[in-house]
C-alpha cells in the first residue's frame, strides 16, 4: 500500500548528512529525496543515484550542430549559388572548407550547449513560472532535508534511527 506520510529529517551539516544517508541506507530504508542548499559531493553515490547522461546528450547535440553547419555551408555556398567571391574556390565544399571552419565550430558549440541546457531544464523540470517544490525554505539556506516515506507503522523505528544520526528536527507530514 502506498504510504500517505513522510518523515522530514533536517540536518545542518553536509558531513553529518552524508553519514545519515549511509546509515539510513544500511538499514534498507528508502530515501525519497534529499534537498540541499549546495552540491554535496558524493551524495549522489551515497544515495545510489544513477550517473546523469547529460554529457552524452551534449555530444550528440554537438554532432547535430556540426552536421547542420556542413550541410548549410555546402548547400548555400556550393550547391545553390556557387559564385566566385574574391577568387575563393566554390567548386567543391572541401576546397573552400577552411573558410567554413569558424562557422562549423560555433554551430557545434551552440547546439551542444543550448540543447543540453534545455534538456537539463526539461529533465529536472525547471522553467519560468514553475512552482518551487522544496518542502522547507531553509533548505536553500543552511539546512539539509531528508525525506523518507513511512511504511507499515515504522515511524517510531525510523525516528529513533534518524535522531541517532544527528537530525536537528524530525517532522512527520502528509505526503504532498
Amino acid at each position: 500500500m502506498e504510504s500517505s506520510k513522510v518523515i522530514h529529517a533536517f540536518y545542518t551539516d553536509d558531513e553529518v548528512l552524508m553519514d545519515a544517508v549511509k546509515a539510513v541506507k544500511a538499514e534498507h530504508h528508502h530515501i525519497e529525496e534529499v534537498f540541499c542548499p549546495f552540491p554535496v559531493h558524493g551524495l549522489d553515490k551515497a544515495l545510489g543515484l544513477a550517473p546523469t547522461r547529460l554529457a552524452i546528450t551534449a555530444f550528440f547535440y554537438g554532432i547535430t550542430g556540426l552536421s547542420f553547419s556542413i550541410w548549410m555551408t555546402n548547400y548555400m555556398m556550393i550547391q545553390d549559388w556557387p559564385q566566385d567571391i574574391g577568387g575563393k574556390p566554390s567548386f567543391s565544399w572541401l576546397e573552400n572548407m577552411p573558410a567554413f571552419v569558424p562557422i562549423m565550430f560555433e554551430l557545434t558549440v551552440f547546439f551542444a550547449a543550448h540543447l543540453m541546457v534545455i534538456t537539463f531544464y526539461m529533465r529536472s523540470r525547471i522553467w519560468p513560472f514553475k512552482e518551487a517544490e522544496n518542502p522547507d525554505p531553509r533548505t536553500t539556506d543552511d539546512h539539509f532535508l531528508m525525506e523518507i516515506p513511512v511504511h507499515d507503522n515504522n515511524e517510531a523505528e525510523l525516528t529513533a534511527l534518524l535522531s541517532k544520526t544527528g537530525a536537528v528536527e524530525i517532522n512527520i507530514v502528509d505526503k504532498h
Binding site: 534537498f35 549546495f38 552540491p39 569558424p102 558549440v109 543550448h114 514553475k130 533548505t139
Partner: protein, 484 residues
C-alpha cells in the same frame, strides 16, 4: 573526509562564517535599500548612456559621415570599441569556465560578477557591428534566412559573418551558463523573501529550483560540460574577431600571430576590468571577507602572465616586421613608423600602459595592494584600448599607396557613443549589483570547510570539520499534522 587541504594555502573565506552567514552576507545588498552613492553612480551612468543613445540615433538618422572616418580609414573608434568590449568580456568566461576546469577554488567568489561583466560587455560590443553599418535597418540580411530574393544567401567566407556567429553564440552560451548558475542563488533569495512582490520576482527568476540531490548532480555535470564548451568558445571568439584583421591583406594586419595574441590581450584586459570592478564592489557591498587580498593577488598573477604573452607578441611583431624584408611592414603597426609617426603618442601610450606599468605587479607588495591594483588595472584598460586603436587606425592610415595616406580624427559622435557604452555598461552592472546575488553562494558554501579561515585554523589544530552529534539537541518527533 575529503576536506583536507594543504595548510600552505591561504583561506578564501575570512572570518568565522557559517553557511547561514554566507547567505546573510550575500542577500544583504539585495534586501537592503540602495544608498546615496549608488544613486549618484547610477545617475551619472544613466546620463552617459542616454547621451550615447542620442549619438547613436544621430548617426543612424544622419549617416556615418558624422563620424571621423574617411575613405581610407573606414574603421576606427567603432571597431576599436567593439574589440575592446569583446576583450573585456573574455575574462568572465575565463574565470567561470577555464578556472572551473582547473578546479581553482578562488574563482567561486568572483565568477558571478565576472560573468555579469562578460554579458554586459558583450552587449556593448554587440552594438557596434550594428551601428557602424551604413544601413543598419538591413542588418538582418547577415542571417542566412530563406527569403523572397530567390533565397539569396550570405557569404560564409567573410570573417565579419563569422563574427555574427561567434558573438551571438558567445553571448547566448554565456547567458545560459550564468543563468543556470544563478538558479540556486535566486532560489535562496526567493525562500528568504518577505515582500510578496520580491517573492514573486525571485520565484520567476529561480525557475522553481528546489535543490534535489538529482538536480545538483545534473547541475554539476551541466556546469562542467558548459565550462568545457565555453573554454574553446572563448578562445574561438576572439580568434574570429582577430581574423577580421589577420585575414586581410594590409601590412600590419596580415599576421598569423593575431589569434593567440588577441586572446591573450583579451584575458589581460578582461582581468584588468574585473579588478577595477571588484576593487570597488567588495567595499560597497561589504563582501571583503569573500573577495580577499588573495583573490586580488591571484588575478594580478594572471594579468602579469597574459601581459607577458602580449609583450612577447609585440616583440614578435617587431621582429617579424624587420625579418620579412617587406618595405611595407616598416610603416605599419609596431614598426619604426608607428613609433615615430603621427600616432607616436598612441603607440607610446600602449607601450607604457600595457608593457611597462604591469611589470610593477612582479612586486608582491604592489600585487597585494588594493590601491595599486586599482591604478594598474585602469592603466591596462587604457593601454588595451590603445592597442586596438593602434592596430586599426595606424595600419589604415598608411597603406600600400602613399596617395591614400590619411589621418583619423574622431568627432564628438565617435567619443559620445563610446562614453554611452561605458554608461550603459555601468547602468547594467549597477542594477545587477542591487538585484542579483553577486557571489555564487551555493559554490562558496562548498569550499567553506576546506578554505574558510575558521575551519582551516581548526583543522590545523586537529579538530575535524564534522561537528559532534549532539543527541540532546534534537527536538524529537513532532507530528505536525496533529498539532495544527
Amino acid at each position: 573526509m575529503s576536506h583536507y587541504e594543504a595548510p600552505i594555502r591561504e583561506p578564501l573565506v575570512l572570518g568565522d562564517k557559517s553557511y547561514h552567514d554566507i547567505t546573510e552576507d550575500i542577500a544583504k545588498p539585495i534586501e537592503g535599500a540602495a544608498n546615496k552613492n549608488w544613486y549618484i553612480a547610477f545617475y551619472i551612468s544613466l546620463v552617459a548612456m542616454l547621451w550615447g543613445f542620442g549619438c547613436i540615433f544621430y548617426t543612424v538618422g544622419t549617416g556615418i559621415g558624422v563620424w571621423g572616418l574617411n575613405k581610407n580609414i573606414g574603421w576606427a573608434w567603432d571597431i576599436t570599441n567593439f574589440v575592446w568590449w569583446v576583450g573585456i568580456g573574455h575574462a568572465g568566461t575565463l574565470i567561470s569556465a577555464v578556472l572551473l576546469l582547473f578546479r581553482q577554488k578562488w574563482r567561486m567568489a568572483i565568477n558571478r560578477s565576472a560573468e555579469a561583466m562578460t554579458i554586459f560587455a558583450v552587449f556593448q560590443a554587440g552594438l557596434f557591428p550594428i551601428i557602424h553599418m551604413g544601413r543598419p535597418w538591413n542588418a538582418y540580411w547577415v542571417l542566412p534566412i530563406p527569403n523572397q530574393f530567390g533565397s539569396l544567401w550570405v557569404n560564409f567566407n567573410s570573417p565579419l559573418l563569422w563574427d555574427v556567429f561567434a558573438i551571438s553564440t558567445y553571448l547566448s552560451v554565456s547567458l545560459v551558463f550564468w543563468w543556470t548558475g544563478l538558479l540556486p542563488d535566486f532560489a535562496m533569495i526567493r525562500d528568504r523573501a518577505v515582500k510578496p512582490f520580491q517573492k514573486k520576482i525571485y520565484s520567476l527568476l529561480s525557475f522553481g529550483w528546489s535543490g534535489r540531490a538529482k538536480d545538483w548532480q545534473r547541475f554539476e555535470e551541466v556546469s562542467l560540460v558548459l565550462a568545457g564548451l565555453a573554454t574553446p568558445l572563448v578562445l574561438s571568439v576572439h580568434t574570429i574577431v582577430s581574423m577580421d584583421f589577420a585575414t586581410s591583406i594590409n601590412p600590419g594586419w596580415h599576421s598569423t600571430i593575431f589569434p593567440p595574441y588577441f586572446v591573450a590581450g583579451a584575458i589581460f584586459s578582461g582581468f584588468a576590468m574585473v579588478q577595477t570592478l571588484l576593487g570597488i564592489m567588495r567595499k560597497v557591498t561589504n563582501l571583503e571577507d569573500y573577495i580577499t587580498r588573495m583573490h586580488i593577488e591571484y588575478m594580478n598573477i594572471v594579468i602579469i602572465l597574459t601581459g607577458g604573452i602580449v609583450a612577447v607578441a609585440y616583440a614578435t611583431e617587431f621582429f617579424i616586421a624587420w625579418y620579412t624584408g617587406s618595405p611595407y611592414e616598416n610603416y605599419t603597426y609596431l614598426s619604426v613608423g608607428a613609433a615615430t609617426g603621427p600616432y607616436a603618442w598612441a603607440f607610446w601610450s600602449l607601450i607604457t600602459f600595457n608593457i611597462i606599468t604591469p611589470q610593477l605587479l612582479w612586486f608582491k607588495k604592489i600585487r597585494r595592494s588594493f590601491i595599486w591594483t586599482f591604478i594598474i588595472s585602469i592603466a591596462i584598460n587604457i593601454g588595451m584600448w590603445f592597442e586596438r586603436f593602434d592596430i586599426i587606425a595606424i595600419v589604415l592610415s598608411k597603406g600600400h599607396l602613399p596617395s591614400t595616406w590619411w589621418r583619423f580624427e574622431p568627432t564628438f559622435v565617435d567619443v559620445g557613443i563610446f562614453i554611452g557604452t561605458i554608461g550603459f555598461f555601468f547602468v547594467l552592472f549597477l542594477l545587477y549589483a542591487r538585484t542579483f546575488p553577486v557571489i555564487a553562494q551555493a559554490e562558496v558554501k562548498t569550499i567553506l570547510k576546506s578554505s574558510g579561515e575558521f575551519y582551516k585554523k581548526r583543522s590545523e589544530q586537529g579538530i575535524p570539520t564534522k561537528p559532534a552529534i549532539n543527541l540532546a539537541g534534537s527536538e524529537g518527533t513532532s507530528d505536525k499534522n496533529n498539532k495544527e
